[in-house]
C-alpha cells in the first residue's frame, strides 16, 4: 500500500525487518540519526547499512569513525561476517578514522570545520560514495572548544551532505532526557531511529523504534532486534495482523486414529495446535509424530526445543520408533535448541522469526511453549504468544505448541492466556484408576471441524503413539487393565452370544425342514385322495349313465310312454 503512493525515495538498508518497518529503508539522499545508549548496536547498524549498500545495492559507502580506530572496527565487524578489508580493496568502501586529541584543543579564535568537509568530500569522491556514516560525531564536542561554532558547523555539515545527495547515518549517544547528548535530533530531522538495550530479570533484549520519519509512514512500535553472526535482524511485528488467508486443506497429524478424531483428516494447514498435558503424558511424542509425518511428505519442519537438546529428542523418539535423524540429514528437519533463559522473550521471538525466514518451514514445533514463556508476566506472555502465533500464520506454517500443565491444577485454566489463540487444542491427561496411571487424550476444541468428543486412551508403543478402542464402563472410560478386563469380558460375552445365535439358527433350520417335509407329505396325501375321488366320480357318472340307458331300454321294451314319470304315476 505504501508503495502505491509516491513516497520519498528510499535507500534500502538490507537489514532484515528494518526495511519493512521503514517502508523501504532510510530516506535517500538525506541524513538519518541513529541514537541509543552505549553498546546498543548503533555502530553495527550503521556499518551493516554501508556493507549491504556496497554489496547488495551497488552503493559504495564512507565510514567515518570518530571513536574506533579503523583496524579495531574491521576486527569487530569481522565477527559478523563483514570483510571490510576486501570492500576497501575493491573500492566499495572507505574507512576513515578521525583521530581526536585527548583533551580540548586550544581555541584561539573563530574556526570552521572545513577540514572535515574537505576530508569527507575527498573520501566520497574517491569511490563515488552514495552512503556515508558518521559514527558518533558528537565526540567532536569533547575535543573541539566552542560548542556554538560546532553546532553551526554540524548544521552546515548535514545540509552539505543533503546537497551532495548522499544517504547519511549519524550516530549519537543517548543523553539524559534527550535523544542525543548534544541534541543532534534538532538538526537531523528527517529520520530518527532509537535503539535500546534493556535488561529485565537478567535477560537482555534489544529494541528499535522509529522515532520519526518525515514524509513517510512507518511502524511506530518498539521492535525487538537481534545481533548475531549474520548481522542485525529486526522483527517487524506490526506487519502482522489478522489478514491471513485460512486454508481449508488438511494435513495428517501423523497418528491415523487421531486424524479420524479430527473429522477424519487431521489439522488445518496453517492452523495453530496446542498439545497440553501434565508431565510425561506424551506431548513431545505427539509433536514428533507430526514432524515425522510432515517430513515424510517432503515438507520442511523447524523444531524449536527449549528443554531438550536435539540429540536427546532424537534418542527419545527412536525409542518409540520415530527416526528423526534421517530427516535432519536430508535437510528437511531443523532443530533450534535454546535455553529459555538464554535471552528475553522478544529475543526468542526474533530468533524464531529469523529461523523461519531463512528455513521457510511448512511445519513449526515449539516444545514446550510453557518454558519459552516462563518468567514473563501474563500480559507479556500473551503479547509474545500472539506475536508468535501471528508470525507463524503469516508464514503459513502449521504450528504445534506443546504446553506443560502442572498436575493438580485445572488443566484448562493454566493456559487461559493463550487458549483463545489456538485453533486446535488437544489435551493429554493421566487417568488414574485402579492403581494405574494411563494416558488419555481428548480434543478440547478444534475450530472449523467436526471432531470427536471422546476421551481416548493411547499407548506409547515402540512404533509410536497408538490410540486404543474406547471402552466405556459404568464410571467412564476404562483404561489400562480395566480396559483389558472389559475387553476380555466383552469378548467372552460375544462368544456366548455367538453360540446362542448359532443355536437358534440351527433350530430354525430344523423347524423349516420338518415343516417342509410335512407339507410334502400332505401334498402327496392330497394327490392320492384327489385321484381316488376322481375315480369314484367317474364310476358314479358311468353308473348313472348306464341306469338311464337301462331305463330307456326298458321303456322301449315295454312300449311305455316317453315320460317315465307320467307313466309311473299312471300306473299307480
Amino acid at each position: 500500500m505504501a508503495k502505491a503512493r509516491t513516497q520519498l525515495p528510499k535507500a534500502p538498508t538490507g537489514i532484515q525487518g528494518l526495511d519493512e518497518i521503514t517502508g523501504g529503508g532510510f530516506p535517500k539522499g538525506r541524513p538519518t540519526l541513529i541514537c541509543g545508549g552505549p553498546g546498543c548496536g548503533k555502530t553495527l547498524l550503521a556499518m551493516e547499512f554501508l556493507v549491504r549498500g556496497a554489496t547488495e545495492y551497488g552503493e559504495p559507502g564512507v565510514f567515518m569513525a570518530f571513536e574506533e580506530a579503523a583496524k579495531d572496527l574491521t576486527q569487530n565487524v569481522a565477527s559478523l561476517g563483514f570483510d571490510l578489508k576486501d570492500l576497501v580493496a575493491r573500492k566499495k568502501m572507505v574507512l576513515d578514522f578521525v583521530y581526536l586529541e585527548p583533551g580540548e584543543m586550544e581555541e584561539t579564535g573563530d574556526y570552521d570545520l572545513d577540514g572535515l568537509f574537505i576530508r569527507l568530500g575527498q573520501a566520497i569522491d574517491s569511490i563515488g560514495a552514495k552512503r556515508v556514516v558518521l559514527d558518533t560525531i558528537e565526540t567532536l564536542f569533547t575535543s573541539l572548544p566552542n560548542s556554538h561554532i560546532l553546532r553551526a558547523e554540524l548544521r552546515r555539515l548535514f545540509r552539505w551532505l543533503k546537497d551532495r545527495g548522499v544517504t547519511a547515518i549519524i550516530t549519537g549517544e543517548r543523553g539524559e532526557g534527550t535523544l542525543t547528548r548534544q541534541g543532534l535530533e534538532e538538526y537531523v530531522s528527517d529520520c530518527v531511529i532509537l535503539l535500546d538495550h534493556r535488561v529485565n530479570d537478567q535477560l537482555s533484549s534489544r529494541r528499535l523504534r522509529v522515532v520519526k520519519y518525515r514524509g513517510s509512514t512507518h511502524g511506530t512500535n518498539e521492535y525487538p532486534f537481534l545481533i548475531d553472526e549474520d548481522g542485525i535482524s529486526v522483527l517487524p511485528v506490526t506487519s502482522l495482523g489478522l489478514q491471513q488467508i485460512a486454508s481449508s486443506k488438511r494435513i495428517p497429524t501423523g497418528v491415523a486414529r487421531l486424524d479420524s478424531m479430527l473429522g477424519g483428516a487431521g489439522y488445518f494447514r496453517g492452523s495453530s495446535v496446542l498439545v497440553s498435558g501434565t508431565a510425561g503424558t506424551g506431548k513431545s511424542s505427539l509433536a514428533a509424530h507430526f514432524a515425522d509425518a510432515a517430513c515424510r511428505r517432503g515438507e520442511r519442519v523447524t523444531y524449536f526445543a527449549f528443554e531438550e537438546s536435539p540429540s536427546q529428542i532424537m534418542r527419545n523418539m527412536r525409542s518409540i520408533g520415530i527416526d528423526l535423524d534421517q530427516w535432519v540429514q536430508k535437510g528437511l528437519l531443523q532443530f533450534q535448541a535454546n535455553r529459555p533463559s538464554s535471552a528475553g522473550l522478544e529475543m526468542h521471538l526474533t530468533m524464531i522469526h529469523k529461523a523461519i525466514k531463512s528455513f521457510k518451514p511448512q511445519v513449526v514445533i515449539v516444545d514446550p511453549l510453557t518454558s519459552f514463556v516462563a518468567g514473563g508476566t501474563e500480559t507479556e506472555v500473551k503479547t509474545i504468544v500472539v506475536r508468535l502465533v501471528d508470525l507463524l500464520k503469516m508464514n503459513h506454517c502449521t504450528s504445534l505448541f506443546t504446553s506443560l500443565t502442572l498436575s493438580g491444577g485445572l488443566l484448562e485454566q493454566t493456559q487461559i492466556a493463550i487458549a483463545s489463540l489456538i485453533d486446535t487444542w488437544i489435551l493429554l491427561r493421566e487417568i488414574e484408576v485402579g492403581g494405574e496411571r494411563n494416558r488419555g487424550m481428548y480434543i478440547l476444541k478444534s475450530r472449523g471441524m467436526a471432531h470427536s468428543n471422546q476421551i481416548r486412551e493411547f499407548l506409547l508403543t515402540d512404533h509410536g503413539v497408538e490410540l486404543r478402542d474406547v471402552y466405556v464402563g459404568p464410571s467412564g472410560v476404562l483404561t489400562g487393565s480395566a480396559r483389558l478386563v472389559q475387553e476380555a469380558q466383552e469378548q467372552a460375552g460375544r462368544a456366548v452370544r455367538n453360540q446362542e445365535v448359532e443355536r437358534r439358527g440351527i433350530e430354525l433350520e430344523r423347524k423349516r425342514t420338518t415343516l417342509e417335509a410335512q407339507v410334502v407329505a400332505l401334498r402327496a396325501e392330497f394327490a392320492v385322495q384327489e385321484i381316488a375321488s376322481k375315480v369314484i366320480i367317474g364310476q358314479e357318472q358311468a353308473e348313472e349313465a348306464q341306469l338311464v340307458q337301462e331305463r330307456v331300454d326298458m321303456g322301449l321294451s315295454r312300449k311305455a310312454d316317453t315320460t317315465p314319470n307320467k307313466k309311473n304315476g299312471n300306473s299307480k
Binding site: 576513515d96 586529541e101 584543543m105 581555541e107 584561539t108 579564535g109 574556526y111 577540514g115 574537505i118 576530508r119
Partner: protein, 121 residues
C-alpha cells in the same frame, strides 16, 4: 617528517604564502620551531590567521621559526593524513610533542599557551 613537510608545503606556496613566508623559512635554523598552518582556500579567516601568526612569530620567535601554509583545497588528501578537522589549524611540528591549536589566532595569549610559550593557567 621533514620530507613530508617540504613536499606538502610546495603546492601551497604560490597561492597562500606570500614571498615573506619563504624568506622566513630560509632564515630558520635547525633548532627552530616548525609551524604549519592549515587553511582551505583564501578565505578572510585564513588570511587573518596567517597575518596573526606572522605577527606573533615576529614578536616572540623572531628568527627561530619556520611557517608552512598548507591549503587543503589544493591537496585534500592531507586533511586525512594530518588529521585536520578545524580550519584554520596551526600545528607545531617541532619541537615535539606536536601541538595543535585551532582558530584564527586572534587571541595571542592563547596562541602562546598553545605553543607552550606561556605556562598554562
Amino acid at each position: 617528517m621533514k620530507t613530508k613537510s617540504t613536499k606538502s608545503a610546495k603546492p601551497a606556496r604560490p597561492k597562500a604564502q606570500p614571498p615573506t613566508g619563504a624568506k622566513v623559512a630560509k632564515q630558520a635554523k635547525s633548532d627552530s620551531i616548525i609551524l604549519r598552518l592549515y587553511v582551505a582556500g583564501q578565505t578572510p579567516r585564513s588570511i587573518l590567521a596567517l597575518a596573526n601568526l606572522k605577527k606573533i612569530c615576529e614578536e616572540h620567535l623572531a628568527g627561530r621559526y619556520k611557517i608552512q601554509v598548507i591549503d587543503l583545497l589544493e591537496d585534500p588528501k592531507l586533511a586525512r593524513g594530518d588529521q585536520i578537522l578545524a580550519i584554520p589549524t596551526l600545528v607545531r611540528e617541532l619541537p615535539v610533542p606536536v601541538r595543535k591549536i585551532i582558530g584564527d589566532l586572534s587571541n595571542t595569549e592563547r596562541v602562546l599557551i598553545g605553543l607552550d610559550l606561556l605556562p598554562r593557567k
